[in-house]
Symmetry: C2
């Protein structure tokens, strides 16, 4: 039953076996859209801005009326009135005339530039222009920001304040987003408890660690809690979670026997696709599906469980929400040589030293405090003997 | 009344005038703590792990009983029983004996190492050990992860899944965090509307942009909405917001007259400390306090308003929540020369090209779509003539 695959094979299998999962969508109000993921392209229904606007306080002019103007020989334009903010100019500017305008105001037809008030004088109803302007100088043209029919935002974009601003400028207040997938978390192990611990026991970390990780990657956690290494208890937990959630994570148990239970349960309820990934940490990872819903068996060690979440479960999340390929958050030069075991991909937490170099945070398995010092993690490829000091490495978000 | 300051002076004034604001704290359940900011150091009340644990499946041993063991001359140890997961060993291991143990199990007193099951054979109640282990090999010692009395997490830390995991491992389920400051947003301008627009009008972007920005920096927005450039209306809005919120942002108006209104209103209700910052974008920024509560007057242009939020308002947020100094999110080499106006600090959105170089996104003022392409922004110092192509620049989070 032990079917060990490479990390890339594992990702391929996860993507392949979950690609029929139809992403569900919903509309949310713009005020609740931060952090959600667009499930459709947003095509602009109009030009932004919808009219030629001035970017300065001053006068709207026909640019050629100012050509040749200088401090000694100003152009003289008749002031034909004032355009107030938010008002439609509603007339056409004739040659030889100008109209007072504030930043953001609408240029009248005929006008194609704006002169800054600082470069003018007002002499008895005449505007003296001391500096010529080129056509469209100091003007944001219709559609300059976002053109009618342009794809303003792409499907799969995670909504940050920038996207909120763009949606607001388009008047799109009901935002089509993916429903948050619900991911259930079961933490198993006879030694795992919540609250006060006795000798030999250890607190349940994975329930909290993984449910917050699920949240921070845009999904909704369904927290089942901790269960003992008991076949019936785990089987029951998995069944309940399959009802409540779109995917299930079973972390632990730490003993070999407990891991076999998870494999057997998935196999009984559905199908197991692999048991074991050539990665470190994360080797004892299990993946299967039950009625098309993925079930992930993660190691019991919090750090290992977290890496499997990031490298395997996140691929499922990225697939169903159409998220873009992940890029490193920064690059840095490695401060030391890192040896590695050929044949498995390896992940190491790193921090940056005072020279901005990446320093690996070595740790015994099970230790979680290393996460709090880490800037992110680096990957050591499967077929490498390690990475030499001085090599530039990509650092990924934890 | 126009009192223009440098950006650094502006930050100094904002910090100085708001440092008496007592940060308010509350306790939240660990399940709701993601993204919040710790308001106290978390000192570990115990050792994690609370006992010496094995990191492998195999046998707990006294290391010196294995010294000299090899494949040809294995050490022979009497198997004194098994320690189950979550159980207190409850006895002391005598010399010449070993005990079966699973990963994460508690070492009995006397034992100081673990032998991997792969390096042993079981022969009629005797364990043959083919490989010696050093003291504490394959063991996580008591307190190795987090020691009793150690500062596990520092005040001012923003809680990510890593911190959630550490808190759970310590059994700290009620988390002391800063209350989210409430920041009110008022968007002003005669041309600003929500929904359908007529010629000359423009949609209210700042209400949505700034309230999501407030959210994404860990605060709660109080959305007042858009008001016209009317003295009484704005004054009333500011008064209402001062009742409801810890700080108030007034964005716009775009006309010089409207900006003067905001200054006059703050001056009437409290005190204005500066009007104008030597920064680009962001020059017409206003700052004052009313009864100790900060009131920020931001430019009407969304991009400029956003930069002032990030560079000035965020300094207030960082101060009251004790957040650490901001670091650049990544560094990159500049793809082109950037000229700059001596005498003011300048900010530019940049994207990365295919070579990983930072490319400035030039834009007319008022254009917001530039935000969606940007990887972040760079700073051009006040007393520089610009930055040369090839210079490494820090890119900051937008």
């Amino acid at each position: 039953m032990l079917n060990v695959v490479s990390k890339d094979e594992a990702v391929g299998i996860v993507k392949n076996k979950t690609n029929r999962a139809v992403p569900k969508s919903e509309k949310v109000n713009i005020e609740n859209a931060l952090g959600r993921t667009l499930c459709e392209d947003i095509v602009s229904p109009e030009n932004v801005p919808a009219f030629d606007r001035t970017t300065v306080d001053g006068y709207a002019v026909r640019a050629d009326d100012t050509f040749g103007a200088s401090a000694s020989i100003p152009a003289q334009l008749e002031i034909a009135g004032e355009i107030l903010m938010g008002e439609n100019a509603g007339f056409s500017l004739e040659s030889g005339k100008c109209v007072k305008i504030s930043t953001g105001g609408m240029l009248p037809a005929g006008a194609n530039a704006a002169v800054m008030v600082e470069h003018t004088d007002n002499a008895d109803g005449l505007c003296l222009v001391y500096k010529s302007v080129a056509p469209y100088e100091n003007v944001t043209k219709t559609g300059d920001d976002i053109a009618n029919g342009e794809t303003a935002l792409k499907k799969g974009t995670v909504i940050t304040p920038a996207e909120i601003g763009i949606l607001a400028s388009l008047g799109v207040y009901e935002i089509p987003v993916y429903k948050k997938p619900v991911i259930a978390i079961i933490s198993t192990g006879d030694e795992i408890v919540k609250g006060d611990i006795k000798a030999g026991q250890i607190r349940d970390v994975n329930t909290y660690l993984l449910s917050s990780a699920v949240q921070s990657f845009g999904c909704t956690p369904y927290v089942y809690g901790a269960v003992r290494d008991d076949y019936e208890e785990i089987r029951n937990a998995v069944s309940v979670c399959l009802e409540k959630a779109d995917a299930v994570i079973v972390s632990g148990g730490s003993s070999a026997g407990a891991r076999d239970m998870t494999v057997k349960i998935i196999d009984e309820l559905g199908e197991v696709f692999f048991h074991g990934i050539a990665m470190k940490p994360g080797k004892p990872t299990i993946f299967g599906t039950v009625n098309g819903k993925p079930v992930f068996g993660l190691p019991g060690h919090p750090l290992a469980a977290y890496f499997v979440f990031r490298l395997i479960v996140c691929e499922y999340i990225k697939q169903i929400m159409n998220l873009p390929e992940e890029k490193s958050i920064k690059n840095a030069v490695l401060s030391v040589n890192i040896p590695s075991n050929h044949g498995r991909e390896e992940y190491l937490c790193v921090k940056l030293n005072e020279n901005g170099e990446a320093v690996p945070l070595h740790t015994k398995s099970g230790i979680i405090s290393v996460l709090r010092q880490a800037e992110g993690f680096i990957k050591i490829p499967r077929d490498s003997e390690g990475i030499d000091r001085g090599t530039t490495v990509g650092i990924y978000r934890l």
